[in-house]
């Protein structure tokens, strides 16, 4: 970002050492976002391979064992390499600006948190070239497929997960300490923008559950290399224990992957409706409720494992309950739109699509919560449809909306609105063409994680693959838009969006390398 104006003492360093050594939240935010975009394309390429093989019945392109590596790595890369780092990148850029702080509380820790990631992912991606191939046991890596029957690369997989986990934990600590200790004078907790609130809550979730992930992969490591039997029945252990510990982490993890998107949409919709967010307090409490409830629903991923009925009923009820605060949030967004004065620039388009399509994903989640029905949905494409709806037109659309929204402030130039609209509509069509048919094939009986399928699933699979090719290719347009904006976009005004409110808009456009060297006076937002 060499177009940044320099204020006062020093501007950015020159050359590559700027990026390696930077402790500036804007630089680090940029690095996280660029990294996550790269990971999106790598994970997306794997999705291409998957959808190319699934284009027609029969095995055409890859061996089943390689296909399993693709599905596994696609999940790992997207979850840990694309979605999570993108949200951290947005947090890095926006949280200090939104609370009037000059930087994050722990800038050097911030640098370390980022730089762990390229190393972790190089190791993970390198497993594709190792003898025995990459991890092939699904991103959920159930034992004993991932322990006794795993390829040698499982050890590197475990180390990569440890590294990513450390990065997330350190990042989360940084965010919490920043929000609690570095707000502008006069800014109370209930003055915090929703994006900051959702990230605060997300950070606590991260602190609570990433260590549990570290524990479960450590237990795996011990089973594989040190002769323990945590998950091995032969030694008195239990494969189902793995699932409990894993999902205790992984369910809050999926909320970690969506709460910041809730925050982004809660910033964008009021701006483009020119109307305050409806029910600010309610939104904060709803987010907190979702986070707390997320700790007691984990075994809804395990309804077919042979749990006693008391357990099944408990997890069914708690999972149904979590729909309530989520619904409250959707109603609040719609009420924000209602009787506003709306315009539909690209960030708003992505945000509205988020509300609609995330709701569809949430409703299929409610169907999945019904345990007896789940016996027919579990491990089918119905589940794949559900989580891709909440993650792709959910989390990813939220990230894209945030980027379009804040990009003018970051780099000083407006993106091309016409191209942005193209990106939106092609993505919207692509995403629905890809994932909607999955509901049908899942209900009709197609299991997950298979490289080949029975003939009655063929038509919808072809449609899905076409949608995937469209959606994936469209993201190249996004890259083009970003580059074009940075290099030759029209200069943006101080306030690019007339309905926008918040401290981040009070700094010059583009935001100077150092902002809020003196704390702002926090009065009227």
């Amino acid at each position: 970002m060499s177009t940044h104006a320099e204020t006062g003492h020093h501007g950015p360093a020159k050359g590559i050492s700027r990026w390696i050594l930077t402790t500036n939240h804007k630089d680090i935010g940029t690095m996280y976002l660029v990294f996550s975009l790269l990971m999106l394309f790598i994970g997306g390429t794997m999705a291409f391979v998957i959808r190319a093989e699934l284009f027609q019945p029969g095995l055409q392109l890859v061996m089943p064992e390689f296909f399993n590596q693709m599905t596994t790595m696609h999940g790992l890369i997207m979850v840990f390499g694309a979605v999570m780092p993108a949200f951290v990148g947005l947090a890095n850029w926006q949280v200090p600006l939104m609370i009037g702080s000059p930087d994050m509380a722990l800038p050097r820790l911030n640098n370390l948190s980022f730089w762990i990631l390229p190393f972790a992912f190089s190791m993970l991606l390198a497993t594709l070239l190792m003898p025995g191939g990459a991890p092939d046991f699904g991103w959920t890596f159930y034992a004993p497929l991932s322990t006794t029957y795993a390829p040698p690369s499982v050890t590197f997989f475990i180390f990569a997960i440890h590294m990513m986990g450390i990065s997330s934990i350190l990042g989360a600590i940084n965010i919490i300490v920043t929000i609690f200790n570095m707000r502008a004078p006069g800014m109370k907790m209930m003055d915090l923008p929703l994006f900051v609130w959702t990230w605060l809550i997300t950070a606590f979730l991260l602190i609570a559950v990433m260590p549990v992930l570290a524990a479960v992969v450590t237990m795996m490591l011990m089973d594989v290399h040190f002769g323990t039997s945590f998950f091995n029945a032969a030694g008195g252990g239990d494969p189902v224990l793995f699932q409990h510990v894993f999902w205790f982490f992984a369910h809050p993890e999926v909320y970690i992957m969506v709460l910041p998107a809730f925050g982004i949409v809660s910033q964008i919709v009021p701006t483009f409706a020119r109307k305050p967010l409806f029910g600010y307090h309610s939104m904060v409490y709803a987010t907190a409720s979702i986070a707390i409830l997320s700790f007691i629903v984990w075994a809804h991923h395990m309804f077919t494992v042979g749990m006693p009925i008391v357990g099944e009923l408990f997890f069914m009820y708690s999972t149904m309950l979590i729909a309530v605060p989520t619904g409250v949030k959707v109603f609040n967004w719609v009420s924000t739109m209602f009787r506003g004065s709306m315009t539909f620039e690209t960030p708003m388009l992505f945000s509205i699509a988020f509300i609609v399509l995330f709701t569809i994903g949430g409703l299929s989640g409610l169907m999945l919560a019904i345990a007896p029905a789940d016996f027919q949905y579990h491990d089918t494409y119905f589940v794949v449809a559900h989580f891709h709806y909440v993650l792709v037109p959910g989390a990813v659309f939220g990230i894209i909306a945030g980027v379009y929204y804040w990009l003018p402030k970051w780099c000083g130039n407006m993106y091309d609105e016409k191209l942005g609209q193209w990106h939106f509509w092609l993505s919207f069509i692509g995403v629905n063409l890809t994932f909607f048919p999955m509901h049908f094939v899942g209900l009709a009986g197609m299991p997950r994680r298979i490289p080949d399928y029975a003939l009655q699933f063929a038509d919808f699979n072809m449609l899905t693959s076409l949608g995937a090719f469209l959606f994936g290719t469209t993201q190249l347009l996004f890259v083009y838009i970003l580059i074009k904006t940075v290099r030759s976009g029209k200069p943006a005004p101080q306030l690019p969006w007339d309905g926008a409110k918040g401290l981040e808009w009070s700094v010059p456009t583009p935001a100077p390398y150092h902002t809020f060297a003196t704390p702002p006076v926090f009065g009227d937002k």
Binding site: P211, A233, G236
Partner: protein, 176 residues
């Protein structure tokens, strides 16, 4: 609360991180404790501690117990129950055997892991003498008969008239 311990400072947050890492490991014994207390997951726990005075006497109620013998990971040995199904009264003490034979040309160590279905019956199956969980060394070509002495607690829920005890035999020679 000590100033450094609050969850608004790095030190306090690190404490939470460490505690949650420990919690992950604690889930292991917690899981077993939970299973034992509730008898869930079909885990039967250790052998029954029998005291003469507290041994129940046989009653009228008849139950069927099935025995299933599995060999993990395609172990080629013989492992079979002497009887697949036994009818007995609750409280009645019964004995049966399982045959194991090591068809390899080298000695092995085996371990049998039990599992009961329905899971809620697990707590009521009391094994007085059982070969489960113990290391069982077998010489090359050696065959053995393992005894199982058990009774079913009369408190077995009324609606259960049949239960199944499964043993899975594992080759644990390599883990010694």
């Amino acid at each position: 609360m000590k100033r450094w311990l609050t969850p608004t400072r790095p030190s306090g947050l690190l404490v939470i991180v460490v505690l949650m890492f420990g919690f992950g490991f604690m889930l292991v014994p917690l899981y077993d404790v939970f299973c034992e207390i509730t008898g869930l997951n079909g885990k039967t726990g250790g052998p029954y501690e029998a005291q003469a005075e507290t041994m129940p006497t046989a009653s009228e109620r008849q139950v069927t117990i099935q025995f299933v013998a599995n060999r993990n990971d395609n172990l080629p040995w013989l492992f079979a129950p002497e009887q697949e199904e036994i009818q007995l009264a609750v409280g009645e003490r019964k004995q049966t055997t399982f045959s194991v034979s090591n068809s390899y040309d080298r000695p092995v160590v085996a371990r049998a892991i039990p599992s009961v279905s329905p899971a809620r019956a697990a707590d009521y199956l009391n094994k007085i003498e059982c070969f489960c969980f113990q290391k069982q060394p077998l010489q090359a070509g050696e065959a053995k008969q393992f005894p199982l002495v058990f009774f079913i607690d009369p408190d077995l829920p009324e609606d259960i008239t049949k239960l199944t005890l499964s043993y899975t035999l594992f080759d644990i020679s390599n883990t010694d």
